[in-house]
């Protein structure tokens, strides 16, 4: 990397205050190494732990927060030497991006840093999934958000509805986005995405693309005056951050339409309380007021669905459901305990698409409107 940096130090972009702060933290890492070496000590980095043991549920804020636990990553430890080296490499990559005023995808960074270690046949990174956790470690270690490191993930998730926003200077009317909708970028901070005007009453978040398309085709959002989003399964940070901003800045309630299975419950839990892995981001992403609209375990009977739409719960599903029921934020909620119990009792799970067996537009014309009208949600 030194060659590249040398070449580019001349065309250093103008740095924002945030960039300067991030660069300072990265330089701090390097200074530590030099100091340790001068004192003849073995260098290490303390990385805040991103495991279940280091998160705690904040009862008053109702979000998952990261604890103070740290893992020491040592250069002279067989198990950690490689990831220590990778941590510093990610540091050089981010430094380069910031100095040049460019951003790249996490995959791009992986390619930027991947090379063969001199004198060996070993690669610095074997695969992207080896690089991604190191980037996340970097975020927590430097206490810098991903965008502050000039990194982004691939777009996932879409949005449509009566709202106009400005994305990197371009005005976008989300009510005129055709069948594809507005693709939610991975960084939606106010500097990049600015809300202009809106008439929406609420946000409906559905689990995946296929269901979202049904709603978009039926122009549900126009009829009910809402913003319609999906996150392609587990919503990525961009989608979660977008929901968070819609909820807090525009004061829109968020309703979730997810599958009736442990995975669906978990997606809801992530949107509502935050995830364990990204607990440090919870305060920017979690929406404790989000509501679970469906599907519900009793929908099979209530909507008189055909038995052929059942999908058997496998062993893993049952186990996962048990774990979710144990989560601190579900443990004291009777309706949720009943909900999960009922699913296990049923012995099957239901996808949102199951409602299509009644009628193609049953979900948009009957199911969701009825739920909204009744105000029958799980909290």
């Amino acid at each position: 990397m030194p060659k590249k940096t040398k070449k580019t130090t001349t065309d250093t972009a103008t740095l924002t205050a945030k960039d300067k702060k991030t660069l300072g933290s990265i330089r701090g890492l390097a200074d530590d190494v030099v100091q340790f070496a001068e004192r003849g000590r073995a260098p290490y980095v303390d990385v805040p732990s991103r495991s279940l043991s280091n998160v705690r549920f904040n009862q008053s804020k109702r979000i998952i927060e990261m604890g103070t636990g740290k893992n020491r990553r040592e250069l002279f430890n067989l198990a950690q030497a490689r990831s220590y080296m990778q941590t510093l490499l990610v540091g050089t990559g981010c430094k380069q991006l910031i100095e040049q005023g460019k951003t790249t995808s996490i995959r791009g960074l992986f390619y930027l840093l991947k090379h063969t270690i001199e004198g060996t046949s070993e690669e610095t990174f074997d695969a992207q999934d080896e690089c991604d956790p190191v980037i996340e470690d970097m975020e927590v270690t430097l206490d810098a958000m991903r965008e502050e490191l000039h990194l982004y993930a691939k777009n996932a998730g879409a949005m449509v509805g009566p709202i106009t926003l400005v994305d990197s200077g371009d005005q976008i009317d989300c009510s005129r986005m055709g069948s594809g909708g507005y693709s939610i970028p991975s960084i939606v901070e106010p500097e990049i995405v600015e809300f202009k005007k809106h008439t929406a009453k609420f946000v409906l978040h559905v689990e995946k693309d296929t269901v979202w398309r049904r709603f978009n085709e039926d122009k549900f959002w126009r009829k009910h005056n809402c913003i319609l989003t999906h996150g392609g399964g587990q919503p990525p940070r961009g989608v979660r951050r977008m929901l968070h901003r819609l909820h807090y800045e525009l004061k829109l309630p968020v309703y979730c339409l997810l599958d009736n299975d442990p995975w669906g419950y978990y997606i809801y839990s992530v949107i509502k309380q935050g995830s364990i892995n990204l607990a440090y981001e919870s305060r920017r992403m979690a929406i404790p007021e989000a509501r679970f609209l469906g599907l519900r375990s009793d929908d099979y009977k209530r909507c008189q669905l055909s038995p052929s739409v059942q999908i058997r719960l496998n062993e893993q599903d049952t186990k996962r459901a048990g774990q979710i029921a144990q989560y601190a934020w579900f443990a004291h909620k009777k309706p949720w305990q009943k909900e999960i119990e009922l699913m296990i009792e049923n012995g099957f799970k239901l996808e949102v698409e199951a409602l299509i067996s009644k009628d193609i537009s049953y979900v948009t014309e009957e199911y969701v409107p009825a739920r909204l009208k009744e105000g029958n949600f799980l909290d």
């Binding site: 990397m1 030194p2 940096t5 130090t9 990265i26 330089r27 890492l29 390097a30 200074d31 190494v33 030099v34 070496a37 001068e38 003849g40 000590r41 073995a42 260098p43 250069l75 002279f76 067989l78 030497a81 490689r82 220590y84 080296m85 510093l88 490499l89 540091g91 050089t92 430094k95 380069q96 270690i117 001199e118 004198g119 060996t120 070993e122 610095t124």
Partner: protein, 682 residues
Amino acid sequence: MRNGSDINSPAGNTPVIPPAEVEPRRRRVTAETMAAKQRDISVSEFFAKNRHLLGFDNPRKALLTAVKEAVDNSLDACEEANIVPEIWVHIEATGTNRFKVGVQDNGPGIVKKQIPLIFGKLLYGSKFHRLRMSRGQQGIGISAAGMYGMLTTGKPVKIISMTSPKKPAHYFEIQIDTRRNQPEIINGKGDGEDIPAGEKGHQYIADHGIEWVSHYPTLDEQSRHHHELRRGTRVTIELEGRYVRGRGSVDEYLEQTAIANPHVTIHYVDPDGGETTYSRSTTQLPPEPVEIKPHPYGIELGQLVTMLKSSHGGTMSQFLTTSFSRVSSGLAQRICEAAKVSTRANPHRIGRQEADALYVAIQNTKIPPPATNCISPIGEALILKGLHHQLPGEFFCAATRPPAVYRGNPFVIEVGLAYGGASPTQKVTLEALTELLEESDARSLKQFLLTTFDGIGAAGAEKILAQAKLGTRQTPAKLKEEDIVQLYAAMKNVNLTEGQTMQVLRYANRVPLQFQPAACAITQAVIATNWRAYGLAQSRGQLPVGPITVMVHMASVWVPFTSESKEAVAAYPEILRELRLGLQAVGRKLAIYLNRRKRVRQEGERREVFLRYLGEVATAVAAIKNSGDRSRKELYGRLVDIANRKTAVADTKLDDRGKKIEEAAEDFGENVLIVNGDEVPS
């Protein structure tokens, strides 16, 4: 015969037939005609017919057995006479499958009268009747070899023996009269020839074409003058045999003998004229074993009765104390009391029942174990010397067990272990390999490799052949020159340490046992030992795998062989126990060594991992700090120092439990030899 009426029928010549059976009309033979054919069987005749019992079952083994018997006798004689043994073994091909074997020693020589008896009469010897550790036991070996030679080639056994440089030497040519088991002297009108002492003698020997090495070879012209042999014996036997190198060969026997007898020098000339000298690594003779009386626990009832009958008068008490070892007069009294026999009774008058009671009383009385000065173990120090002298390796250790007793016979188990070094396939030269291939009677190349080289295993042989790009089934003798070169290269290159199985060298009273490994208690004990506990790979019921040689020596006044050809030790529980303990003792030392090696290797790997990443780390730091190449190098140097220190610390001071250990604190115990990589054996 159990019927009442038959009991009184005369026990004579008429056979008694049970009433139920009908007497056949005409008997083909009568007792009388049978009696006419019944006669003594001479031992010689018996063994001439059953020569496999003595190790002459095939021509290849016959050659080995002849050499072995002669060398064993020579060594026994030298040691008994307190002479540092020097042995000459000359094998000369005299025709197709015919060899002349000459074995000469610098021993005390044999008096004239005894020579024909020792070499021309089976079961004649000095070692059978006494309880003392020696190589030979029964007095069959050398005369049987002579007899075998005579039967297969018709040539007599030739013996020349010199007892003093001043007295005439004796020269005999002997044949065995197998019917009578008597020697028949052919030369000098049935009286042998006397060779005058001194110069005249040399002339006589030369004139008569007698084979005799008259001088010690000069090893170093400056420091040693040409020594003349002052006394010694040479036996020459011509016999039908087959000379094949490799496993079970004369070469192997001599090499293994040299390992277990570091005080012996052997000059060997093989049939191809190749000369090999196995030189001694010590001039210290093994301590002379003392002859002992039998231990009471070791005798059987019949033996006891015979001893009682042949005792020289006196009282029972005297009989017990003088005929047995470790029986004091107090003990004798206790035995007699238990047997309800008077201590004053005359041993001649002891009846059958009393003898019975006496026998039981002996078994039930606690008698101290026999004295152990009747056996002379090689000793740990000399085992190490012998192993190191003859085998390549990096780690050697030895253990001599304290004496133990089986059936009243004291014995000592000794175990030596050599680890590492080149495999036998890597030691052979291209010329030797070519010869080996020519000589081999193996049907396929794979079989050739397996039978010629020890411990390479089927997988190893296949590996070698695959590398040499030769078929496993190719005939060894039909290999072309370039194929041989290829095979040779493959044998040198293929690392067999992984697949190599342990080589077990078995010894009984310093004599190598080369056959019937599976039947031998030693092999059984080696297999039964859990070598995995000592860091070696081992499958169930198999020898462990690795570049290891284990030598096991059983020294005893009477080694219990499973057969007369003395090839396998019988598995008495006491012997197995001692074998196990001895093997475990060397196993533990090996484990310490292997662990240390492993730790060193692991540390090396650790260091390597760190060093690999240090360059990246230094570069990354320099890139972040925008610092130059100099400070990058400086940082790198510092990090490398830390890495070396880190791994060095873990290297020497921490064991796997994180406990501090110093180099010296590693307790191998005594008698361990560690050879550093390239050190050449002295």
